[in-house]
Symmetry: C2
Subunit: 158 residues, 2 copies
């Protein structure tokens, strides 16, 4: 094999390597985009107090879990988790939830999305409640969709 | 093939199926035990204010994250996460952290451990601080070891 051929082949292999890397890089970016979209859809469902939308975004099984700002115990299983949101929606006839600049970490078919939600709610008596809610959302990929499997929102000190 | 042989083979297949199921069941139980042990070791490291022990229990990369009870932003990357624990140990010359009955969910090589930690700390001025800390720990399996990749502890209302 001539030296030129070897260089040619090495160049091709390097180009292929760069292509594969950049392709995997953009696939990862696309996956992060899908997770950010799922996470934003979750905040929108909360802000619209839309249980039907939450149904579509969550894994509805016996091991799904949640911790809310007032929680003193883990809420376990879809019926209890769903009921906990129903309770929040009953307490707040108006609410808005928004997480800016979430941190996304993908671990195979699981992903952790963390950030600080800005929560604003109006109570039944008209009182306005506003606080920062440090939040961890864990998603699992089922088919093409990232579904929520664990939600933990706290309340940062004022 | 005689009817007896068919029944015999069906019986063998059924026994094999039951064995495989129970074997997978006990393997899953063993994995849950390993995660509970990792999670207890993490609480012990915090209670002993032992940074060296934390080093061995955590994934030390740029994407490891933490949220502590006073956090108003996500702490990102091992140097910052480690420093945040160093800060907590400096503020509390004595502390104890214990999570009872953690909920464990394994998703492939990722696992979510949630529960409510009982936190008790003595400040530099001698004041005692006690609260319940709703907690989410996410672990990733590397080789045979479950390592912490995300820690989120809040503070439940009194």
């Amino acid at each position: 094999m001539s030296a030129i051929r070897v260089i040619h082949r090495a160049g091709f292999a390097a180009a292929l390597f760069v292509f594969m890397q950049s392709s995997s890089f953009s696939e990862n970016n696309a996956e992060i985009g899908r997770l950010e979209a799922a996470n934003a859809a979750f905040d929108t469902a909360l802000s619209h107090r839309d249980l039907g939308a939450l149904d579509a975004l969550c894994i509805q099984d016996a091991a799904v879990t949640a911790l809310h700002p007032p929680s003193k115990a883990v809420i376990v299983g879809w019926p209890a988790v769903r009921k906990s949101w129903e309770g929040a929606f009953a307490n707040f006839p108006e609410m808005s939830v928004q997480m800016k600049n979430p941190q996304v970490r993908i671990l195979g078919s699981t992903a952790i999305v963390t950030g600080v939600e800005a929560f604003r709610g109006k109570r039944l008596n008209g009182d306005i409640v506003e606080f920062l809610a440090p939040t961890t959302n864990v998603y699992e990929k089922r088919g093409e969709q990232w579904l929520l499997v664990h939600h933990h929102a706290g309340r940062a000190p004022q």
